[in-house]
Every structure is written in C-alpha cells, then in structure tokens.
C-alpha cells in the first residue's frame, strides 16, 4: 500500500500529526497495533500546561523558566520557548474541535497547579484529560477522512538505496501476514518505553519502545535514554498510578512506623528517592489521605478511591494506601531537529518516542500532553511538506526479517521479561551505582544471547499475541541495552539519572 505520509502510532502525537499532514494536503495513513483510541494517551489524568493565566497570574516566560529548571540544564531553551509559546494556541485549537475542558464559572478554561509550576497552569478535563483530548482528536481525524489500520504491528522501518526512510514492514495481527507500506515521509509516533520495567511501571502494556527499537535498527540516533522518570505513588501491587493531586490536596507519605519522612510536595525525583531509601531500610511506605475526609475524597479524588479499592483492596477513606515509586515517563527517545526530522532522511518522530529537547533530565507534569500536540503538529506539517517535494515513491531495499530466523523455543521469554524488569528496577532504577549498571549490562548481554533459544509456542497465524509479545520483548531488550549504555556514559547525577558513589 502507498501513501504520502505514513504514521506509526495513534496516540495524541500520531493523531495530531495526521490532522496536520492532512490539512497540509497530503494523503495520510495511520497504523497502530491497537485501535486508535486505545493508546496510552487516554491514561493521562492531571492536565496539559499552557500559561493562560485563567486561575491566577501566569506568563509564558514563567512556564519557560519552570520547564528549564526541571530539565536540569539538559534541554534546549529555544525548543522549550517554542513549545511554551505555542501552548495557548494548542489549547485554543483543542477547544475549537470540542475538547470538554473543565470550566470556571465565567466560562474560562479551568486550570490547576501541578508539581514544579509557579502558577496554576494545567488545563484539565476532570480526571480524564488525556482520554478527552485523544477521543476528540480521533473525531477530528474522522471528520477529515483520515484512514486508520488497526492491529498493525510495526516490524521494521524500510529504507531506499540512498538510506532514506520510505515505508514500513508490518505484521498484520489479524491475518499473520507481513505487509509492506511505502510512503514519501514516515512519522514515528509510537510512544515511550517505560514498560521495559515490566510490572514496575504505570504505563500501558503497549509502551514497549517498539518504534525506538526499529529506528535504532536502521541507524537512527537516540538521545538521553537514561532519563526515566519514576512516579512516587504507584500502587504497591499493580503499579497503577495514584495521581499527584492526592499529595497536592494534602496527602502524607508514611513509613511502617507511621512517621512522615519527606516533603511530599518536593519534585518527583526527590520524593521517589526518599521513598526508595525507606524501602531499602525495610520499611513499607503508604500514602495517607484519611484526614481529608470522605466527602472531600469523593468530590476531589473519586478515581483514586476507586483504584485503591479495586487494585489494592483498601479504602483510602479508612485505610492507608500501600505505594512504591515506579517508572512513569521516558524523557529519552529518537533525536530530532527543530523540524522533527531524525538523522535518517525522511523519518520524522514526535511524542514520547522522540526527543525534542524539551524535558531534559526531568519532565514537568502537564508538559507531555502539551508536547504531543505542539510537536505532533510540527511533525505532521514538515512530513507533508517533504512529501510534496517528492515526485516518485522510492523502492525499499530488502530488509532482513527477524521473524524468518530460527528460534528453538526452549527458553520461556515471559520469565526473562519479568527478570529483566526486576533487574532494571533494582540496578537501573531510582538510585544507580556504576557497578550495578555494569552488572545490568552483562545480564542484558546474556539474555540477548538467549534470544534464538526463545520464540513463540503458539503456531497460529491469526491474532498470535504470543508472537507479538515476543517481538515486543525483542524491542524491550534492545531499548534496555541503550538505557544502560547511556546511563554508563553519564557519570554525574543529573535529574532522573541519580548516581550514588560505591
């Protein structure tokens, strides 16, 4: 199949890119391994930043400064400035297509304060900000007649004889066939890689870094892969996120002795480290919101009560909520320039899989939804413009298909997926040591060498999720290797990458 602009991924970034490319006049095709409304973007609760000043004095400059500070010097001021000044337009756009943002009494978009912000700056839609943005973008795509193909799993990116990206090889999950899609420009919008930490992550199952791994395989540059943001309050058993607003509204963190041990409102990395230290001392850690009272909890934190009851069997009105810090957001990704173009000609990237140099070593809450809208649009526009200057579709050079290799399937990859997650959490987690990073590197090398002995045992070609999960595991391994390599090359502590002396 052929198109002008091929987009891999239908999260907020992919959908925004599709809309922009279509509006630019290009033919657009979006492929996703799920359905378009099921990407992780639907999970975002907190909000999307824009200095509108609707709930108190604020300015774009303050937004820039807060973002810079949080980035610990590892971001690009110009890119941040661009993103923050585009933020009010982005909100206006989302409003114009019908996103149901929460409102103030006088009809303005309501805003609340998230960690690290000097003003209430996050626009939100109750507890469902990501869901409502994603679904409205999807409705807009429908209005524009954008074509989607669901259940399409990216295997590899294709290049022509000059090395330019010219399409993708896809596994059609429904039929089990491999398919080739040819395009003038390709946009990667496949999301982040927090699920390399397996059960120690708040993320959707789909966030396995597939796009980044595929980009690596054709020689794309990645940047800052060691910067993984850990969220302090994942539920202890399931790692499901309990929103920061629980602490924002006055929740305490307690250890097993019932003592408070840190400033709950410090930045995410600091709070995560404080909790990690308690856990290493043998303590359990709890979030306590009992003192806020049932009425307040039901009105202000209904989703958290539901999640705690369902997944931890505790009712936060009467009980402590057991928590632990877990991997939540990955700042690193495929390196792009200010046109969202990677170092591979014709390959663009946006969203959590890309590195637009705006988060540096620590992302500010609410800046990710902003990033996917602002840079999703840029990627879409630029990819469409490039496509318009190309007359002929190119012919891909044959790429070696991983699936055709021999797999003896004598080693169970599910066990190693879990092992790898534990390994990364313990040795490439919140606090890191050089010797542990080296251990992790060796261990990953060992697991990689076992890959030919793994494989899938389900022989069916129809909807073979066993095979899909094996392909994801391969990507997880490749991305993990990069994370450890990058961590080893940065010797000093910086933001989310915290090094401890031996």
């Amino acid at each position: 199949m052929k198109t002008d602009v091929l987009i891999i991924g239908a999260g907020g970034a992919g959908l925004m890119a599709a809309i922009a490319a279509k509006e630019e006049g290009a033919d657009v095709l979006v492929l996703t391994k799920e359905y378009p409304t099921r990407s992780q973007t639907c999970m975002a609760q907190g909000g999307m930043n824009a200095a509108l000043g609707n709930a108190g004095e604020d300015s774009v400059e303050d937004h820039v400064q807060n973002t810079l500070k949080s980035a610990h010097g590892a971001a690009d001021e110009e890119a941040i400035r661009f993103m923050c000044s585009e933020a009010p337009n982005a909100i206006e756009y989302l409003n114009s297509i019908g996103v149901c943002f929460s409102r103030t009494k006088d009809g303005k978009i309501a805003q609340r304060r998230l960690g690290g912000a000097s003003a209430p700056r996050a626009c939100y839609a109750q507890d469902y900000t990501g869901l409502k943005i994603l679904h409205t973008l999807y409705d807009r795509c429908n209005a524009l007649g954008i074509q989607f193909i669901s259940d399409s799993f990216l295997l590899d990116l294709l290049q022509d004889e000059n090395g330019s990206a010219c399409g993708a090889k896809i596994l059609d999950l429904r039929s089990g066939e491999t398919k080739t899609y040819i395009a003038k420009s390709v946009i990667l919008a496949s999301g982040g890689y927090s699920r390399i930490y397996d059960k120690y992550s708040t993320n959707s199952k789909a966030s396995s870094g597939d796009g980044i791994a595929a980009a690596l395989r054709i020689g794309a540059d990645v940047k800052d892969m060691e910067f993984v943001q850990f969220h302090p309050t994942g539920l202890k058993n399931s790692s499901i996120l309990i929103s920061e607003s629980a602490r924002g509204e006055g929740g305490y963190l307690l250890n097993s002795k019932g003592e408070r041990f840190t400033n709950e409102l410090a930045p995410r990395d600091e709070v995560s480290r404080a909790i990690d230290a308690e856990i290493k001392k043998g303590e359990e850690v709890f979030l306590d919101i009992r003192h806020l009272g049932e009425a307040f909890i039901d009105e202000g934190l209904p989703q958290e009560r539901k999640l705690a009851k369902l997944y931890e069997n505790v009712d936060p009105v009467h009980d402590l909520i057991p928590i632990k810090p877990v991997a939540h957001y990955t700042m690193g990704g495929v390196a792009v320039d200010n046109q969202s173009q990677t170092n591979i000609d014709g390959l663009f990237a946006c969203g959590e899989c890309a590195n637009h140099n705006v988060h540096g070593a620590n992302r500010l809450g609410g800046n990710s939804l902003l990033e996917i809208v602002v840079f999703g649009r840029e990627a879409g526009r630029n990819a469409a413009k490039r496509a318009q200057n190309i007359e002929q579709l190119s012919v891909p050079v044959n790429c070696e298909c991983f699936l055709e290799q021999e797999f003896s399937n004598t080693v169970d990859f599910y066990k190693y997926k879990e092992k790898l997650g534990n390994l990364l959490y313990n040795k490439v987690g919140i606090v890191r040591k050089r010797s542990e990073l080296e251990d992790a590197q060796q261990e990953i090398e060992m697991i990689k060498s076992l890959l030919p002995q793994m494989g899938w045992s389900d022989p069916s070609s129809v909807y073979n999720t066993n095979k899909q999960e094996f392909l994801e595991f391969r990507n997880i391994l490749q991305v993990s290797e990069m994370v450890v390599k990058s961590a080893l090359s940065r010797t000093e502590s910086c933001g989310a990458h915290y090094m401890e002396a031996e």
Binding site: M43, G98, R103, Y463
Partner: protein, 238 residues
C-alpha cells in the same frame, strides 16, 4: 477456582489459584503459565482504554475491573466478528462514528461554555469506546447498519455542545438507521462501565429531531411492533 473460557471452537476450563484478583490478571496468568495460545486484548489495566471488554456470565464487563469468581464463564463481545478467542473485530462499530458524523461540524466562536454548560455533556465525553453497549444491543444484533449506542451518544455530545454551530447536519444524518430504530430497551445503559446512558441520549436526540421537524416514522403504526414510541421498560420516548 475454575473458570471457563470460550475459545474458537470449544469452551476450555482453567484451574487457578484461589484469591482476589481481576479477570485480566487471571487471563495473564493463564497466558504466561498455562497456555500461551489464549488470545485477548488489554492496555491500560485501569479501566480507561476500553481494550479488555468481554462478557462474563453473559454480561459485559471490563476484565481489568472485574474480580474473577469461581465458576465464571468468559466469552467475547457479541454482535461483532470474533477474530480469535476473546478478540473481536470492532472496525465496523468504530466506523459508525464516521457514518454518524460525530464531530464538530462548524465551530461557533461566540459560544461561552461555563461550568454549567460543561456538565451538559460531561458524562458522554467519558466514553472509552469499549464496545460493551454494541455487544448488548438487540437492534444492532439484527441490523448491522444501526448507528448504535456509542456513536449516538457521541452525536448527542456534539449536538448538545454550544460550540457546535450547525447541529442540523447531525440531526439529518441520524434519521436513517439511527434514533428511531432504537427500542429503548436500556441494555446499553446497564452494561456501560462509564455510567453513560445511550438510551437517554437517544431520547434527547429524538426530542431534538422533532424540533427540527422530524417525526417518528413508526408512529403511524402504533401498537404494531416494539418501535411504537414506547420502550420495553414502558417509558415514553419523548
């Protein structure tokens, strides 16, 4: 505990540890430790992505928010082609959003949306497109062209939105295989994990249709069938 799962050609019984856990956790355990070939979909595991809708003991649930019980009988959603095991093909029901033109057609710049206006369609915009309502709908079961509950809820969301400057186009679009075909049986409301009542939204759309001059095409043969303007539950349709 034992649970029964409908596979492509047979029901299969799986033996699991006793305990309190979600159906999704149970299915993952089966997949990883007992039978790699079991197929199902999931994503967020926190009830917001809509991927894991299926039927337990003939009722639609989200596997990630349902606590599995001894003796449960698990099946895929109804009214959609089964791809394999618990995975269904939802392309056609997704396409209904396009057919129903569920989007803002013409943006009204002047509209002021205040806190009150926000509440008008807040619950409708909570839809996670899980498809449970389509699975439960007796009309969709017999008429694959029926626009169906979630897409009509979505239309109501936009029709009731002050920012929509041209609601008529949408009302025109939903006259055929749309609002008048629903029997108001309320099944969709009962199964919705987000507490949305498509039935109520369809009733509101009927009222709005009347305001634009449309009448119930079934009204003439009152008493001649279940589309008589009164639903199974006896409530008037407008």
């Amino acid at each position: 505990m034992k649970i029964t799962v409908k596979r492509d050609d047979a029901f299969e019984i799986y033996e699991l540890e006793d305990g309190e856990y979600t159906l999704l956790e149970a299915l993952n355990t089966i997949k990883h430790d007992i039978d790699n070939t079991l197929s199902f979909s999931s994503g967020c595991r926190s009830s917001v992505c809509g991927s894991c809708a299926m039927r337990v003991n003939e009722k639609e649930v989200l596997a990630c928010s349902y606590k599995v019980q001894d003796g449960d009988r698990i099946e895929p959603l109804n009214n959609m082609p089964v791809i394999r095991d618990l995975v269904v093909n939802m392309d056609k029901s997704y396409e209904m959003n396009v057919k129903a033109k569920a989007w803002i057609n013409s943006f009204n710049n002047e509209a002021v949306l205040d806190h009150e206006a926000e509440k008008i369609n807040e619950v409708q915009s909570d839809c996670i497109l899980c498809g449970s309502c389509y699975s439960s709908c007796p009309v969709y079961a017999v008429n694959g062209e029926f626009l169906g509950p979630f897409s009509l809820t979505r239309v109501w969301k936009y029709v009731s939105d002050k920012r929509e400057g041209d609601a008529k186009e949408k009302i025109d679009t939903i006259q055929t295989n749309g609002v008048w075909d629903c029997t108001l049986c309320n099944n969709c409301t009962v199964v919705c994990p987000q507490n949305i009542s498509s039935k109520a939204d369809i009733e509101k759309l009927r009222v709005r249709s009347s305001m634009f001059g449309y009448t119930d095409p079934n009204f003439g043969n009152f008493g001649g069938g279940f589309d008589s303007g009164f639903g199974f539950d006896g409530s008037p349709s407008f």
